[in-house]
């Protein structure tokens, strides 16, 4: 349950307020030069505290790669172990929460599942876990086969508003001032995937992307191609007519979102992910404690008002992990 992938497997560990996050990326072929700067660039993109809109946690999040590489940073074909120390663990912030079930958090469900939960910052349920995913994705992105593939995610809307980055930030600021949080949609476009990648039946490429995206904290929905709007449409409106340019077969439109029958058709792969508002609010809220007594949860702590903003590099990382896995399955390195 802490392993993702089949040919390229990322296994992770770490509670947000424990000693360290970390993981093992197993399945990278030998002989690939790894650029540490790419890893640092990606972890910086997801790092909190970069602007006034995201949480003020200030860890530097610099991973230490412990194995699987020569001194010259060339992969040996063996598993790449990595850790990131948690340096900013002000667990006192969460003292009261240890007793209370925070609404829309996983405190209650973890208690039901494991008989106990890590009260400091959500433990494994914290979005800090996605740091491991971004590191895994940043390594996988350096596979030669991935260098021809462009994976670009961006925020499509926040609070139902589409607009420029500035307009979207205003929506977030406004929510933040009220101690509120707000949802958003991230869209992703993948270009350069050759036709024939993916599998049928239970291994469909879009089903794997769905599973990957729905694993991201606060994700509530996934659609690819025309998605839910295809459910309101007619077949004649959705037909992606094939054509051929100098022997290169492709479609004139892309309602399908680049995948047919679970396998890529060579067109851009497009999908969207819906994220709910950050569940932590900075206003007081009624809840219960473990005994079921009514209690007031006082809003404090450091949190992002909009998960969707920080999810962008995570969506890309998980997409890269899915695609790299599929490419390696077809022995494309």
């Amino acid at each position: 349950m802490n392993t993702f992938g089949r040919n390229l497997r990322l296994t992770t560990f770490g509670e947000s307020h424990g000693k360290a996050m970390g993981g093992i990326l197993d399945g990278m072929p030998g002989g690939i030069k790894i650029d540490m700067d790419i890893i640092l660039r990606e972890t910086a993109r997801r790092r909190p505290g970069q602007s006034h809109l995201v949480t003020a946690r200030n860890e530097k999040d610099i991973p230490e790669l412990l194995s699987g590489l020569t001194d010259d940073m060339v992969t040996l074909g063996t598993p790449i172990g990595f850790i990131v120390r948690n340096t900013d663990q002000r667990s006192g912030d969460y003292g009261e929460m240890a007793e209370l079930y925070r609404p829309n958090h996983a405190d209650f469900t973890y208690d039901m599942r494991y008989g106990l939960h890590e009260p400091r910052g959500g433990g494994r349920a914290s979005a800090r876990e996605t740091l491991n995913w971004v590191i895994g994705g940043a390594i996988a992105r350096q596979l030669p086969c991935m260098k021809n593939i462009s994976v670009k995610a961006n925020v499509a809307s926040i609070g139902g508003i589409k607009g420029t980055r500035e307009e979207l930030e205003k929506v977030v600021e406004s929510a933040m001032k009220r101690g509120d949080s707000v949802g958003g949609v991230v869209e992703c476009v993948i270009e350069g995937v050759p036709a024939g990648i993916g599998n049928p039946v239970f291994g469909k490429l879009h089903a794997r992307l769905a599973q990957a995206m729905m694993s991201i904290n606060a994700a509530k929905g996934f659609e690819y191609g025309d998605g839910f709007s295809a459910a309101s449409a007619y077949g004649t409106e959705q037909a992606d007519i094939f054509t051929s340019d100098a022997g290169h077969i492709h479609t004139l439109t892309n309602h399908s979102g680049g995948i047919q029958g679970g396998i890529s058709n060579g067109m851009p792969i497009t999908f969207k992910v819906a994220f709910k508002p950050t569940p932590t609010l900075l206003c007081d809220i009624e809840t219960v404690d473990k005994e079921g007594h009514t209690r007031i949860l006082r809003g404090k702590g450091r949190h992002d008002p909009c998960v969707a903003l920080r999810a962008v590099p995570v969506v890309e990382a998980m997409t890269v992990l899915v695609l790299a896995d599929e490419m390696l399955e077809r022995n494309i390195k």
Copy 2:
């Protein structure tokens, strides 16, 4: 790629116009009485040809259970093998299609993936494969632990229209008369799942449901709880406040859709699946053949104008398989 599940594993085979469909359900505990009528009821629900709205294929789809059961139909704890003969294989219908790439079908992508494709009816990409899933689900539904769980799917809208069954059927009929097809949304409500079912990180219950639903032919989107509309909402609107009735902790609202942090919270689990219109049209359409030459694909054959209608028992079956797998993981039989 033809296996679904971890503790309860369904492995399937069969091309729609080959000799037989079939599968192996592995992981059913011993000592459970299996009622063949429940299996026949479920396969009848998904069978084509039941009304003028769905394809006229007339196979009786009666599965033969070949192993894993005593003569009295009690499970032995060993794998249950089953087959369903394909009795209605008029493969001549597809003669022309063998040469052409049908838009929005998997002919082209299978060719890119495997170097060839089964031209008769789509092979493994045919929705006939879901017969195997319905059989697997109908057996899994008979686990004692599943008898307390209600899984009910129904069509929420067709062509963007919500309404009674009659109104929805009119939308389909109207499309059918024009030789067109139409999309739809299926919603599912699960009641009776105890709190604490599911897993965190990469094993989230909703991520597994997403993967299961996106495996169904023509699925384009998945959302749970408030789904995409949560992405337009504020945190204060989405908070599911905890309360306690005589020591039973639950939430007052259910924006979360019964799952928090990937684990059930005891509330009803709710999700929706978007299905695109059936890609096969009964009007002529331009396409290319394997050499890339422009050709006219003449619409004929027997096909459902609305996949969503027939998907209802398939959505239920896949839901049952996911839940049964999770229950068995927690050793609840």
Copy 3:
């Protein structure tokens, strides 16, 4: 637990006295011509009743291939489903045994594991299950990559006696006349595996062969290369010195048995499997029933006095499945 392999996966079902045996071979690439005669040849090799030395069960064991193939028997890249009907099920033979725990059989342990057991012929514990493995192996053997690899097993000794086929058969006949059974060792030599096949750590080629061989009914031991005798030897005696002939690096001796660090080195791969005597005896024997009461188990029925004799094609089939899996992992088709 009924699935073997990772890239080429054989999932099986069937009780020896149920309706049918069968399986699904998933992972065969598309475009490979399958020769039914090779399958029939292999199933004939393991078929009981071929001589006076093996059981008189007379099923013809002709598998029906149900999917994954064109009409011309070319693989589609999709799973190959197959069944073999059980036509000779004289279950009356086992009436008394339903109540008794047969020594060295799995009746008692299955009861402990599942709460019940299939009394007729051992259910899944019967050696009839290996028919599924031989069918899977006979298909896998037809992969182009396997055609250059020679897998030859033979009986090395019976009852501790090495000798010609005639001498070995005399040992078996002598045991049979006394109503007794006898153990034996099967050895296997694989030629043509290129250097570099296999994996380190938990995926070692010899560990996978060990697991495969120990899965065969009545197997008690596995060794490769010099095996147990290497444990009595000194390092200077075991060194396989490297040499080079016209750039081809190989070793002068083969104490290693063709594998170093879990990966093939291009030399012949050699291993041995120890089989205990058939546990069924044709003399009376004391045992207990389910309530623990002492009872006499009267020897009757049809059984092989020497499992090792019939294990030869099974050893080969499982070896082929392991090697094909490894070759496909390296994308050698």
Copy 4:
């Protein structure tokens, strides 16, 4: 390939001369108190440099547990990440070896597999990897279900000699003085496993033990119960007659080694593992370099003359991991 287990999964990383060894143990239930002293005791047992008979490498091998535990060392049910820094990496010792293929080592096969190999100490092929296994086993040993199970391995013979510890050490010393190495057999007895643990067909308990044991460096053979000697025996000699004491059914003898049909029968589980002599010799030896030129490999470095001696705690650790996995599958915590 770097993951072992199904319900309790150990995933490992680390080259012997890289920065660190480490792993992730996933699947430990929540609420279990972990005693660090037990982990240190087990790692101390396998540590080199404890006597003049084993290599002088002097790392302290103290693991750091990074996640999955409360401050009070109680498991959270989440993955336990751990690392052990490599502090003694005198890689200069191996300078010459980078060019040469050492006989009976994995240098040549890793080059064939990955296109390169880590020349310093064997990389992943080094026995230092087993440190990760011992740590994983020492944690798993603390499961409540394992506390009733006794797993005891010891050296049964060295160089073919059975005897007291003193006699065996003399055999090793004598080999060491000559710059030679020597093989040995480790035997293991497991007591306290209840009847009904394990699985049939491809999940047989002895097949999993075989795979686990054959994963240990230098293992050449595995046998359980009477093993290879059963292959020289008659059925009447091997029959383990059932009897009943006050309703407790057991066998009078234990030729079966505690397992029938892949499932434990409640008797002690017994097996043996053959280890070849350490391949590294301290005398000069002829070999080839990567270009196939003949070279002299000069014996030096720090190595154990007898792998079997140090394998004892590794055999126990892998046994514990197999058993814990099976117990958790049956939900026995």
